[in-house]
């Protein structure tokens, strides 16, 4: 029964998001569609951080790989959004495998530092080739390259965005729900709890961590690709460090239940940041204050404390 209750809770938020859709004002539709895409990214980050206990500060690179893979494909190869989506996911998968190979060889704070350096390298590369990537300013994609274009005879732009985001979110939630019940999911958690013990039971934990990074990369890359293909924009800002640290906050704010936490946390943080958007670059300040506050709160939240301890301590 506990499992059933968890399943109901898991799918209740997407169900609510589907039900309230007809009564939403235009701005709320726009805002929630964005948050749903970011939540897919949050789930991807949670697989890496919350399940496997790896505190990456480089996931912006995976998001950006998805975004550039999809966006640049529509500009320089073919304006076909579906193959662009696949290209984006493939690019993120490739980058996550590289980052995963690195992460299986280092531990503790070095994992955080190396992921940060890897992401910063991608960011600088994007700036360096700004004739191709558009650098910080970015590039606006053609309308016919977006996923909403084929639906335009029937649905308005914001409605089709909302629909796409919701469907993607439901797929992402289902994936995490299934993963958390599966043997693989249990093994991921075992890696977080005691990697050495799992190794002593005959498991190859390096492979498990690589797999976790790859899955995380597919999620993050999908979110990035949809960012490009729904909002017809790619820009180096998405590869920046802020986009790497935000999911940490989302996951910690969301709570211990991985099936709903990332979505809940992402919505909460973005709603608060949106309310503060009138302030001078309020969003960044909210994230900064949020991190400090959650650091204080972590002392009282035993799950967050354990998670942070596991992911930042040196292996002795």
């Amino acid at each position: 029964m506990k499992g059933l209750a968890r399943t109901i809770v898991t799918f209740s938020i997407p169900a609510v998001l589907a039900c309230i859709y007809p009564i939403l004002p235009e701005y709320a539709k726009f805002f929630l569609a964005r948050v749903m895409i970011l939540s897919v990214y949050a789930y991807g980050y949670a697989i890496c951080f919350q399940m496997l206990g790896m505190l990456s500060l480089g996931h912006a690179a995976l998001f950006a790989a998805g975004m550039y893979g999809a966006g640049l494909y529509t500009i320089y190869a073919s304006p076909s959004p579906l193959s662009a989506l696949l290209m984006g996911v493939a690019a993120a998968l490739a980058f996550s495998l590289a980052m995963g190979l690195l992460s299986t060889r280092v531990g503790g704070p070095f994992l955080t530092i190396t992921t940060l350096l890897a992401a910063q390298a991608l960011y600088l590369v994007a700036l360096h080739f700004n004739e191709i990537t558009g650098g910080e300013q970015g590039i606006v994609l053609g309308r016919e390259a977006t996923l909403v274009w084929p639906l335009s005879p029937w649905l308005g732009e914001s409605d089709s965005r909302y629909l796409f985001s919701l469907v993607t979110l439901v797929i992402a939630v289902t994936g995490v729900w299934a993963l958390s019940r599966s043997r693989l999911g249990k093994l991921f958690i075992a890696v977080r709890d005691d990697e050495e013990k799992l190794e002593s039971l005959g498991y190859n934990t390096a492979t498990l961590k690589l797999l976790g990074f790859a899955l995380s990369g597919v999620y993050s890359g999908t979110a990035g690709a949809l960012q490009a293909l729904l909002y017809s924009y790619v820009g180096a800002g998405y590869a920046g460090i802020l986009n790497s640290v935000e999911p940490v906050l989302w996951v910690l704010v969301g709570g211990p239940l991985i099936q709903v936490g990332p979505l809940l946390g992402c919505m909460l943080v973005n709603i608060i940041a949106d309310l503060a958007r009138g302030m001078l670059r309020g969003h960044v300040l909210i994230v900064g204050l949020g991190l400090v506050l959650i650091a204080f709160a972590a002392g009282r939240l035993s799950w967050a404390y354990r998670l942070l301890r596991r992911s930042t301590g040196l292996v002795s």
């Binding site: 070095f110 700036l127 940490v248 204080f296």
Partner: protein
């Protein structure tokens, strides 16, 4: 074919940059060494040093005052940071890392509010061209390099020889045991933060006349420091200096062929490969813990 003169300039420039990076990174190393945490806000302390210098020089006080006031102010900031926030959760690595990242963003935004979005500049108080081995070089940059090197060596000597250094190293070895010896570990950590802040503030003040003073300059410094501490070994001051000089030389030599961003990417890739090969932080890896 590159002319020999450019090569000489590049080497000199690389050394000066290397010493500057060493000055910034040694604070990161000290803090990591004594409490085993990565202070992600360390780069912002450097930015604050430059910011304070800009404020002072703009207010008509001379650059000389900046060299004294900026390290003191930033040192105070670091102590405050430790006292008000990091100390509250006993320097537990996880919460500390998160909190320092939050502080990074907050200081950055404060920098934006004070400096504005456009980069600021102050002019060097003196800048005689100096003849070095047949070509001329900026006298002020030479001053930066020498001052940075001297400070780094001084800190290194303090660490190795003085009672303070012994205490810092003792806390680094075993915080609990130090407590049982009647030494106040909290105060030693505080001194470590003060030192780290002072060094970052001094680096900011020294570099403010030759760099663009911008609210994002701290993060670049943090990334460079990470490359250095990864290559030089966390917690080792001598390793930091060596690695910083190597990084400075590498970046200025590759900058002869590549754009500056590309040469930074090259050095980051070298650091990443080194980390992977040495398996840092893993059981049996080369980390000091």
């Amino acid at each position: 074919m590159i002319q020999l003169e450019y090569l000489g300039l590049a080497i000199l420039d690389g050394l000066v940059n290397g010493f500057s990076i060493a000055l910034i990174a040694s604070g990161l190393t000290i803090v990591f060494g004594i409490i085993n945490i990565v202070n992600l806000a360390h780069g912002e302390l450097y930015m604050l040093g430059a910011l304070v210098s800009w404020v002072l020089v703009s207010a008509g006080l001379g650059y000389g005052s900046a060299l004294i006031v900026a390290p003191l102010v930033v040192s105070g900031m670091a102590v405050l940071l430790n006292m008000l926030i990091l100390q509250r959760f006993g320097h537990e690595p996880g919460p500390t890392m998160l909190a320092t990242f939050g502080i990074l963003l907050i200081i950055q935004q404060a920098g934006l509010a004070i400096l504005g979005p456009a980069p600021r500049a102050i002019s060097p108080p003196f800048n005689p061209p100096v003849e070095v081995g047949g070509f001329s070089y900026s006298g002020f940059k030479l001053f930066i390099g020498l001052a940075s090197l001297a400070t780094c060596l001084l800190v290194s000597v303090i660490f190795d020889k003085s009672r303070l250094g012994t205490l810092l190293r003792a806390v680094q070895e075993n915080r609990l045991m130090v407590g049982s010896l009647g030494i106040d570990a909290g105060r030693v950590i505080m001194i470590g933060f003060a030192l780290a802040g002072g060094l970052a503030g001094l680096a900011g003040a020294l570099n403010s006349p030759v760099r663009q003073i911008h609210f994002l300059m701290g993060f670049d410094a943090l990334v460079a420091s990470f490359v250095v501490v990864v290559l030089g070994g966390m917690g080792s001051l001598r390793g930091t200096l060596t690695a910083a000089v190597a990084l400075g030389l590498l970046e200025s030599l590759t900058a002869l062929f590549l754009a500056p961003t590309a040469s930074r990417v090259v050095s980051m890739l070298i650091a990443l490969s080194y980390v992977a090969v040495r398996r840092l932080g893993q059981a049996g890896g080369g980390s000091r813990s």
